[in-house]
């Protein structure tokens, strides 16, 4: 089978981000012929329509990374019942100029991670609206609202035993979804 490239966009830029840790653990559940590229979003300029057609180097880097991907995995925390501004900004940058969105047509999945019991569900709800608007082919299920707790990711950075089957099912389904479009 053709090797797959998955771009991973983590919605938090803090160093010990639960979302990033979970995303990294998820990536380890994929077969060897699937490569994950964690896209950097912390050094992007604010999207400003006046700059359409004159991308900063960081914006060009973002767009190249999206273009190279067969699918995109979004793993996001929830800030004030929505996605972080830093994540939305990366989405805005990749979607413009009008008619040249790098996101359009690519398969995607949306995962929410939170230390709270709502598990990032409302951030994912908003994110799904945006991904649909950008014409991404977003995996419906399994839904992934992850309540971050001790042991969810073990000391070696693997999904803990108690959640492994659940996470594996998601990863298998997501990879299968991406392959349909590749």
């Amino acid at each position: 089978m053709k090797p797959l490239r998955i771009a991973v966009v983590v919605g938090s830029i803090r160093q010990d981000s639960y979302s990033r840790r979970f995303a990294q653990a998820l990536a380890r559940l994929a077969p060897d012929d699937v490569k994950f590229d964690f896209i950097r979003i912390d050094d992007l300029p604010h999207y400003n329509q006046d700059h359409d057609g004159h991308d900063a180097p960081e914006t060009q880097r973002l767009k190249r990374a999206i273009e190279a991907a067969d699918g995109v995995l979004f793993v996001t925390p929830e800030y004030s019942r929505s996605i972080p501004g830093v994540l939305k900004n990366a989405l805005d940058l990749g979607a413009r100029p009008y008619g040249q969105s790098r996101w359009a047509g690519k398969p995607a999945a949306a995962v929410g991670v939170s230390p709270g019991a709502m598990a990032g569900s409302m951030a994912v709800q908003h994110l799904r609206n945006v991904l649909a608007a950008m014409d991404m082919r977003t995996l419906a299920g399994p839904e992934m609202y992850i309540h971050w707790q001790d042991g969810l990711v073990d000391a070696e950075g693997r999904v803990g035993e108690g959640s492994r089957a659940f996470a594996q099912r998601f990863m298998d389904t997501f990879i299968d979804w991406v392959r349909r479009f590749a």
Binding site: H46, G85, D92, H126, N129
Partner: protein
Amino acid sequence: MSTLNIAVVVGSIRKDSYNRQFAEALARQFPAGVTATFIRIDDLPLYCQDDDANPPAPAVARLRQEIKAADGVLFVTPEYNRSMPGVLKNAIDHASRPWGQSVWAGKPAGVVGVSVGAAGTAMAQQHLRNVLSYLAMPQLGQPEMFIQWKDGLVEGGRIGAASQAFVQKFVDAFVGWVRRQAG
């Protein structure tokens, strides 16, 4: 009546923003004693929770101070990909932190938006209202303001004659809302 200070947060940072033009023209219809403070959001760093442990960057400190000093907040937002712009949400994130010290809490809010499309930012406003609700900002419900940008909407920096009464109705309702919350 006491003076009121309204923080106006425009969600677009482009130079000729329709939302900014509309906001500036709308603010000119504020009654005497109500001032508008336009909040700058384009020079804020991208919010990172790790920064909460240190003194805030000057632009962030400024943002928080300006919101804290406001009696009410008017959000004027475009719609990017069926939601609010990232630059706007980033500003909201900054002023909502550090945890437990949100300067948004309790401030009455109004939400309007301008778009070239007919839906007039309805979906961006829907998402924004979800966020403001969580932030404990009592929001004006009606009149709703889903504005389609057309020639003549803003003329010479003022709301065009055909729309002035409509905009005044909103302004009066919003100012009344802010006064009521100010107690």
